[in-house]
Symmetry: C2
Subunit: 517 residues, 2 copies
């Protein structure tokens, strides 16, 4: 058995049976070995950022890592932005990065680069397999490292000849470390804070964003008067009727400051203490008010669900949580504004949908207008590196082939990883992408004014404008095999979304929103 | 004056007056400052890999660095593959990478990552500006570091508040270190080797690939009997009638070994000693035969042109070089094979064209059939990280607005940085892209068999196949504002290329080549 065969069998044995791949020459034995191990599903992407974003979306929904297959340092570089997002989401992932054969390494061939240093910038675990006899054991440890709590990226560097040489054997899975329980003394301390009656916010993130965590948190809120809030961009959030109305901390610093104003105790469950996305002149770096104490009920990677249940038991034993009733907005008519787009989505969102949200500025009203929809999951852009939406939708759909995936996708961001559409088509996945087509980097137009930049003259404006020429997403999607339509009114969007949701396979709707300026 | 204004003015003063940009929030003051410094031309790209590849193509043609403007670590990551190619080309480039404000750095905001470590993997020079008072001096040193011989990538990390704070001033340019001359004793030694009469190859690369270097090398060859050869993928090569017939070392290892078989002396001028792109089972890692001595006339970064002239003077004073006569292939008819495509290009290649070659397997016959065309420059993929072609064409066209640019672009590779087409259109550049549309990663199909992989079954084949769905490059290009046509015969290609070359602005021709398999 050669190294590649042992590697793939070991991954499959450890529960990693999907690989998002963009291979090159140094990975040809891995590719060849796929025919020997039919349990491993390989999904071809045309760009590495699609592979890494897909592995992120897959793991967020499947709850276990996918593998990626990347081609040396430059291939891993192409995947880096979405690896960054995955790192911020604490997504478990096993990167397999091919490298030159061991004998070739010292020759400084054209594709040689410092893979190890690059991998270190986003990985929780990095190893270079040194021989075919090692590779399976390395892979087993990689899976355990990735899947242990909190999830992280494990990068296994695979020299070509370690793949192709014989002498390898399959390794048994290595134990995955589960999320540790929070000590009861910590729960007691937080319960004591809540009993003070001072203004408190229970701030959720990570695994607290599932149904069970939210329901326990809602009991705490009902019994103690604490407000519920969540991090701005959770990796995965359960949403919809029957769950609490969980406000997200707003993105704009001024609004975040207002949202937490007056809070005396910020109680973290699965989340880090919030900070602003960027620093701005004259503003503090985070929204936590002076005089507010931050308490950690559970740190990321600890078992927030059990901690919240324990806390509810202790602080709010008989409380009845306030939960959202089922409700949908009416289908809007007329102009296709961002809010009308949100209403269409809220009105039509199917049962058990997976929403991949990279709407950015066009997401106004989305949270509000989908909050009473049927139960669904919501995946956000965790690390701020745009271009995650189309790939994440790919991965989520591979993980959950029986659930509809709806991608709400800013136009500028879509172009970073646009070739993901081809993979949507090749795999014939039930993904409906709604492009929020406002013809600009609208978020940067906001930011240009917010940072107090003075010269918003023509040359600056031109760097934030996606017109001249306009991007025709219908043509682009069609060129990659995804059926596409254009919606210019609320009615058209409703009609096209309704049809896309009942037809199998991928669709794209170019939602033409008002131009700015 | 704020840091951003001082930075841009300093860059312009040092001769860097083009910036390929994909900015984000942390770069908004740089963007705003563009209105204050109209001498700086900013070119928007929709993806950082387009910006870095364009800066590479620009500098190869302009002979001086462009700047890039990138958004934190993930933005730089998106640019990494083409930064790798630029590093291998020894291209001078000034990366400006925005980062969080200094006060925000420690907060570990979502976009925080180890920019410095990442930059270290491809940069020859890295610095983080610490205050507005430093930034201009840092920029001046960055330009000098990039432009000094051999060219390299200088990465300047620019915290947002170093941009926005006042207290900066313009810095004077710093002296650029020119290529050092090769000592005459070295030239004497090489001349002595050549006088032995033993089989010798004069192996050119880097700055020896310009007209002057090639003409001097041709005199040496004529006077001494040495064979002329060049590296496989030179950053920039002068070509065409009136220059010597400069064979390139073939890419496939077996052919490279055959090309150098029997050579006793390999004389390097501007090139490194060749190595194979990849290691393969049972093959040596490089094509230099046993018993062949490698002599360095000039190392990369030394003045190869003067060294070759000195050598010609010493070893071949009266030799008349053999130079190519003007000749063009006849326009082919019928099936559009790669060779027919090459003949069409050779027949129509305009005077002073810039050819950007990422044809990969579809490039068969291209070198031969364009060798007698009018004088032109040829830019190759230096680092093997595919997705450089469309961006390099952008940069080359910005550098040389009066010269036609022809991109010969493999289909799979095109998809890595396809949004470059939008920038072709926005800037209305005279770029004609010919997509070599064979519907597969054909080079990997070669490699899959070459590495001796056994199971070339259906699952492996599917990972190398770009069909299902096929990519419609006419639709994709049209969707980004580039007029596009499809050629299915040699006549159609000739007709469409002829028209594209006389019409101003960008064009794309989808050249449908025979499918493999």
């Amino acid at each position: 058995m050669n190294g590649a065969q042992a590697l793939i069998r070991t991954l499959v044995g450890a529960g990693v049976d999907v690989c998002f791949a963009n291979p090159g020459t140094s990975e040809m034995h891995f590719v060849a070995a796929l025919d020997d191990v039919p349990e491993m599903r390989a999904v071809l992407t045309l760009f590495e950022g699609v592979a890494t974003g897909a592995a992120d979306g897959y793991a967020r929904m499947a709850g276990r890592p996918a593998a990626t297959l990347l081609h040396l340092g430059p291939g891993m570089g192409n995947g880096l932005a979405n690896l960054h997002n995955a790192r911020r989401a604490r997504t478990p992932m096993v990167n397999v990065v091919g490298d030159h054969a061991r004998s070739h390494k010292r020759l400084d061939a054209p594709l040689e680069s410092d893979i190890d240093a690059l991998a270190g910038t986003f990985s929780g675990w990095v190893r270079r397999s040194l021989s075919p006899a090692d590779v399976a054991a390395d892979a087993a440890v990689a899976v355990a490292a990735a899947a242990s709590s909190p999830g992280s990226i494990a990068t296994l560097i695979l020299p070509a000849d370690v793949s192709w040489e014989d002498g390898a054997d399959v390794a048994a899975p290595v134990r995955v470390r589960p999320a540790p329980r929070v000590p009861s003394s910590v729960v007691d301390d937080v319960a004591a804070v809540l009993s003070s009656g001072e203004p408190a916010v229970l701030f959720l993130g990570g695994d607290a964003m599932g149904e069970e965590g939210q329901l326990a948190a809602a009991r705490v809120a009902a019994g103690t008067g604490a407000r519920l809030m969540s991090e701005t961009f959770p990796a995965r959030a359960a949403r919809g009727a029957g769950l609490p109305d969980l406000t997200r901390l707003p993105y704009p610093p001024e609004m975040a400051l207002a949202a937490l104003a007056g809070t005396r105790h910020l109680l973290l469950a699965g989340a880090e203490a919030p900070v602003h996305f960027f620093g701005y002149p004259g503003l503090p770096g985070h929204p936590v008010p002076d005089g507010c104490t931050v308490h950690v009920l559970s740190a990321p990677g600890e078992d927030a669900v059990t901690a919240l249940r324990d806390l509810a038991q202790r602080a709010a034993a008989d409380a009845e949580p306030e939960l959202l009733e089922a409700s949908r907005p009416e289908l809007p008519t007329g102009e296709l504004t961002p809010r009308a787009m949100a209403a269409v989505i809220g009105a039509l969102l199917p049962e058990r949908a997976i929403v991949v949200d990279e709407a950015l500025t066009s997401g106004v009203g989305l949270m509000e207008l989908t909050s009473g929809s049927p139960r669904h999951d919501w995946l956000a852009l965790t690390g701020g590196a745009i271009g995650d939406g189309l790939p994440m939708a790919l991965g989520a759909a591979v993980a959950c082939p029986d659930r509809p995936v709806i991608g709400i996708q800013a136009d500028g961001s879509a172009m970073y990883t646009i070739s993901a559409l081809w993979s949507h088509a090749r795999e014939q996945l039930d993904i409906t992408t709604i492009v929020c087509d406002n013809g600009s980097y609208a978020i940067l137009e906001h930011e240009l004014s917010r940072v107090g930049a003075q010269g918003d003259g023509k040359r600056a404006a031109r760097l934030l404008d996606l017109g001249g020429p306009g991007l025709d997403f219908v043509a682009i999607a069609s060129g990659m095999g995804v059926p596409a339509t254009r919606a210019t009114t609320a009615e058209e969007l409703a009609d096209q979304l309704g049809r896309a949701l009942v037809e199998p396979g991928p669709h794209l709707i170019d939602a033409v929103l008002p131009r700015r300026g």
